[in-house]
Every structure is written in structure tokens, then in C-alpha cells.
Symmetry: C2
Amino acid sequence: MISSDVIRGYNDTIILYLLLAGDSYGYEISKNIRSITKEEYVMKETTLYSAFSRLEKNAFIESYFGEETQGKRRTYYRITEKGRRYYKEKCREWELTKKVINKFIEE
Amino acid sequence: MISSDVIRGYNDTIILYLLLAGDSYGYEISKNIRSITKEEYVMKETTLYSAFSRLEKNAFIESYFGEETQGKRRTYYRITEKGRRYYKEKCREWELTKKVINKFIEE
DNA sequence: CTGTCGTACTTTATCTGTCGTAGTAATTTT
DNA sequence: AAAATTACTACGACAGATAAAGTACGACAG
């Protein structure tokens, strides 16, 4: 099991990555994370939705309502230019973080 | 700069790693982290000392007073068997975490 | 036609770890 | 004599994760 304290700080990055491939909404993103990681990481609902509002507040994503005429209305999210830049920054940071933590890990 | 949210959850592991090499105390551990990471990661004092008390509460480390006859008295820490097991567990977790996060990172 | 399951999301409240600020205390360097 | 270094403690604030519960709609089984 992966402790949430580790991925904390990368949940936003994970969401942005999935939005790079196209607009999406909560439930779909959640399912994509599960399938991509083969259930090794499952983002909790509340974590996901609170990440959305944080990302939107920071203008890394924008939201709009879907056109579904049936079922519950979806809130779609689109990554912004600022979001793309942030994502790239986090990718660079990740490479550094890996190097740093690796120094304290024995295989 | 490495954001603390990323390493959060590995601070304990970093401390345990350094204690594997022998008993030590706050200030020394702090300096060792700086030098090992070439200042790329600097653990804040308060973070460090609060990690000590958490680790001790969980019986991953034990403390004892140093014998210095001068200077401020040091609190030394020793890793326990339970601490060693926890450390190994975190190492395995780290390998999995790397794999998971890497799936969402573009170089 | 009722209950359950799957989809999709919201609200509230709590917990944990980090960190800013400040203070204590002794020694060493300038 | 002042400033820097060593070594640690106390307090309070904050952010992100999460548990629990609820809302809302459609589909499908019995």
C-alpha cells in the first residue's frame, strides 16, 4: 500500500497529467488513475474533488458543465496554459526528489 | 527547491537511514542531511524534532542523554529492531511509489 | 414498483505533518 | 564584548488528506 503522505503533493500533478490528454471530469479521472496504476493507487473521492477546487483556484484548470441531458450533470475540467507550465515544473521537481530520496534508500 | 509536501512521509525514513549508520542526535543528523544532499534538501529544525518524538512514540527509535560534560546536553537516538523493519518496509514502498508516480510524469 | 448498484458530486469536520516564530542555554569565533 | 554556532523546546497556524454522510439521477433485477 502506498501511504498518502508520499503521493501528497503529486495528486495535483497526476490530475494535470490526465487532463493533458483531454478534458475530463472527476469520476472518469478517478477510474483512469485506478486503471493506469492497476489499482495500486486509488485516489479518494474527497481528495480528488478538493484537488480540483485547489487547482481551479490557482488557475491551473478551468471548469464547465457538460451537456448531458440525462444522469447527474458532470463538471468537466480543462487544463490551462498556467497548468501546463506548473505540470512541467513538477516533472522537473520529481526528478530531483527521486535523486534526493534515493540517497536514503537501501535496496 | 523541493517542496516539503513531496518528502513529507519520507522524513522519518531519512532519519532512520542515518541512524542505521550509528546513534546520533538532532543537530548532527540535520547536518548530515544537508551534506548528503549537497544542500538540495534541508530539513527544518521543527520538522526534525517533531519527527523524533513521533518515531520514539512508535518505538522506532529510543533516546538517551549524551555524556558531554560541557556544552548543551545532547539527546542521542538509537534505532530499534522495529525501526529497522519499518525502514525496510518504507524502502519497498518507495520503489512502488516511484513506479506509480512515474506513470504520470513526462520527461 | 422497490431496492440496489453504478455514476457523479458536495458538505462538514477531523487529523497529521510541516513550518514560522520565538525563546533558552552553552560554547566558540571574531 | 558581540556575534555566530551548537543543541534543543514550545506554541500556534496551516494545508492537504480523509472519513462519514448526504444528494441526485438512471438502469436493471426480482
